[in-house]
Amino acid sequence: MTETVRKIAASYDGVALVAPVTTPYSRFSDKGAQWFFGKALAALITSAGIEKAQIDGMAISSFTLAPDSIITLSQYFSLSPRWIEQVPLGGASGVIAMRRAARAIQMGDADIIACIGADTSKPEGFRDLVANFSTFAADAAYPYGAAGPNAAFALITQHYMDKFGATREDFGRICLSQRYNAQHYRHALIKKDLDMAGYLAARPIAGPLHMFDCVMPCAGAEGFLVMSVEKAKSLNLPYVVIAGAGELHNAYAHDPVQFRGGWREYADRMYQQAAMGPEDIDLLYTYDDYPVISMMQMEDLGFCDKGDGPRFVRETKMNFDADRLAGPTLVHNSSGGQLSGGQAGSAAGYMGLVEAIRQLTGAALGNQVANSKVALVSGYGMINYDRGLCSTAAILTRGDA
């Protein structure tokens, strides 16, 4: 494969991420997506100690907001933003909204940008969503019995197991660690004890995927504010800065079955931009719609070689309170991720980012990781037909507050 020469992106100097908020999740809700956006917006304002009118930029993501959009929300909430963005990119939405907003702050297009992912959840809504997700999905996936994305990911997971010898126990380690983390995080929906025997004995869903490998769709919202470091300081807000970031979409399109993603192509440049490497990361947030995808991100982001993910998760402690002196440790999805927290539609694409900001500013909700300075947040999303198309990642560090 020939390497394309690209410019190293300009730094994100001077940009602060503040006010991480989560609107509590619920399995179903009779409220609209607008309600979840409104609750998150109100929490952002309260958390930052600002007036609503000070928000002059807004980036949003939602699957269930239609026919409303970012512009109809401006009227709904009586906002008059001078910068708006809508990022309909599922699990990649959070990092993409953050990157766009960061550049807008640097360029002076806005002073305070609210980034919010929010969705409601109705009993029949998920079927409609997956049936009409895209033309490719409607024509070439859904008529084949697909249980939403489960079928495509069962094929990806089985292929990964065949190719690299991964076992269900290897995926189970990711799920069990996240369940443990969820039990200590205030807003996680699924906190019931889970052990390996229970994981392995769960109801089969598709091929190697069983119930605890699949996320539970739910309603909820996640949000944060992007502003200048000067503004964050003037508001006395603890903040996080972006040390490096990247995205690449529809990478490796010629792999007939997905086993790697775009992260591989820009991880080195991102680490270079941040002047650090995988060994410097205290907290990893992968997009965990299925555990094989988390494993793929660990590999492609350089924590281990391709195909070595099973060994990596066998040898690495991933719990939020793992003792770093007792052996290899990488705190992974410290709030339980979607697998135990629930997948609140597009909010799931903001979940890791919001939790990382909480952790790095010492504001965790029951699951504070001690002495964490650097987080890597990774996004993945938009399952069109046979694979996820988006890949994003960002390295975040504590601001010098």
Binding site: T135, Y144, G145, A146, A154, L155, A206, P208, L209, Y385
Partner: protein, 146 residues
């Protein structure tokens, strides 16, 4: 009344049903660069020509991954679980998620693709062992666990 598979299908994919009725295996092929397209579309994925013609292509491929579905959001498939499905790459490069004639084909084995009319009246793609005889939906439904 028995359930039928979901009818969702965009216009661009409808020729698959005609091909299945004629018992031919056709996919959209770019008249400019000969790239075979799947899923169906209106613009060539390689050269962006809009001159795509549904024409007979080789049904030969390799089964790259296969699983049984134990859960479905669709009543027809719920009535017939477990339902085998797989990923096949045709020799012409196209990657197809398809029904499997049965659960006895080995992963990485050679298969032939056939378009079959499903009980919803739509053309769908089924992988069968290399050289197998022409099949109908009845073979797919009855043979899925045999």
């Amino acid at each position: 009344m028995p359930h039928t598979p979901p009818p969702y299908r965009n216009d661009v994919a409808l020729p698959l049903t005609e091909a299945a009725q004629e018992n031919t295996f056709k996919l959209p092929v770019c008249a400019a660069c000969q790239t075979v397209q799947y899923p169906p579309r209106e613009i060539c994925r390689r050269c962006l020509s809009d001159d795509l013609v549904w024409q007979p292509v080789s049904p030969r491929g390799t089964l790259l991954s296969q699983v049984d579905l134990h859960h479905s959001l669709e009543p027809y498939f719920r009535d017939h679980l477990p339902w085998p499905t797989g990923t096949v790459q045709l020799e012409n490069g196209a990657v197809i998620i398809c029904h499997l004639l049965n659960g006895h084909m080995a992963t990485d084995s050679k298969v032939d693709m056939q378009a079959v009319i499903d009980p919803g009246g739509r053309g769908v793609l089924v992988a069968k062992p290399r050289g197998a005889k022409t099949i109908s939906w009845n073979d797919v439904e009855q043979g899925r666990k045999s």
